[in-house]
């Protein structure tokens, strides 16, 4: 980053640590259920649920709710907007890192 370049803005929705972890996980899979995401992120049910809701509100993930053996099962997918937001966030981080090194 040269001196004239503006400091890149970091997307506050993606910046949350748990939300960033969830988006990164979902970017590597076709879909995942709540339990898998909870196990991978080691988050509590409440915390994960709240952050998934924020990502869904932002249009970064989609959810498909169904029942398996009479138990609710939610399948989460990253949306094209979510993939774009994650890519832009990573690019911004890289620019910031380059700027802090120079």
């Amino acid at each position: 980053m040269s001196e004239g370049d503006p400091i890149p803005e970091l997307n506050p929705i993606v910046h949350g640590q748990l939300r960033l972890a969830v988006l990164s996980l979902l970017s590597a899979v076709d879909h995942a259920d709540f339990r898998w995401l909870r196990d991978k992120t080691r988050a509590t049910d409440g915390n994960l649920g709240a952050n998934l809701a924020k990502l869904e509100q932002a249009g970064y993930i989609s959810v498909n709710k169904s029942f398996i053996a009479n138990k609710p099962n939610s399948l989460y997918r990253i949306t094209p907007a979510g993939r774009k937001a994650l890519a832009e966030y990573v690019q911004s981080l890289k620019k910031l890192l380059a700027g802090s090194i120079n």
Binding site: H15, S24, L25, A28, W36, L93
Partner: protein, 194 residues
């Protein structure tokens, strides 16, 4: 939003990288499916020649294997699942293959309208294609070797006398499903912590 410190930027980038790698990491086990569909048909073949009521051997064993397969997959779904595109592709291949084999075998058992040699050739070919496609997607030479076994059986079924087809299918099922399933199960258990 204030620009983060260098250490935080690095930790965020590391988190993205680690989570993506974690998402791609496959911990699912499939060796048992090949063992089930290798041992099951071998039991049906043994039943046909050694136990009472041979006409029901295939329908009963195939129904039992299908139910057991479904139950085991349902149990596994309760532990949570993240599916990659690769897993979905391979799953689609084997799901379609399984359905095709079931329809052909059960259809011929109930309707009794199949020509034995053609049925063996078709079944061997379908399983060989599934193994080879799966091996190319997963880059598994051992599974490609298994596909070669099924293709060889397909050619042999065209040449051998009808009376030898039963033995041929027993050998193919043993090598192509039981041996491959045992190798895959061993591999999955020995790599489970990686």
């Amino acid at each position: 939003m204030q620009a983060p410190e260098q250490a935080e930027i690095v930790s965020r980038l590391k988190l993205v990288e680690e989570m993506m790698a974690e998402g791609r990491h496959n911990t699912q086990r499939w060796g048992w499916v090949f063992l089930l569909w290798g041992i099951g048909p071998l039991i049906a073949m043994f039943w046909e020649t050694h136990w009472p009521h041979p006409p029901v051997a295939w329908p009963v064993v195939l129904a039992a294997c299908t139910i057991l397969n479904g139950v085991l997959i349902k149990i596994r779904k309760r532990t949570g699942e993240g599916r990659t595109i690769t897993m979905r592709s391979v799953g689609a291949i084997w799901g379609s293959t399984g359905l095709t084999v079931l329809l052909v075998v059960l259809g011929s058992a109930f309707l009794g309208s199949s020509e034995l040699r053609s049925m063996y050739v078709a079944l061997f070919a379908v399983v060989a294609v599934a193994h080879s496609t799966s091996s190319i997607i997963l880059r598994w030479p051992v599974q490609f070797f298994t596909a070669l076994v099924w293709w060889a059986a397909c050619i042999a079924a065209l040449i051998l006398p009808i009376t030898r087809l039963h033995l041929l299918s027993m050998i193919t099922l043993f090598v192509g499903n039981v041996v491959f399933g045992s190798w895959l199960t061993y591999r999955e258990w020995s790599h489970q912590d990686e």
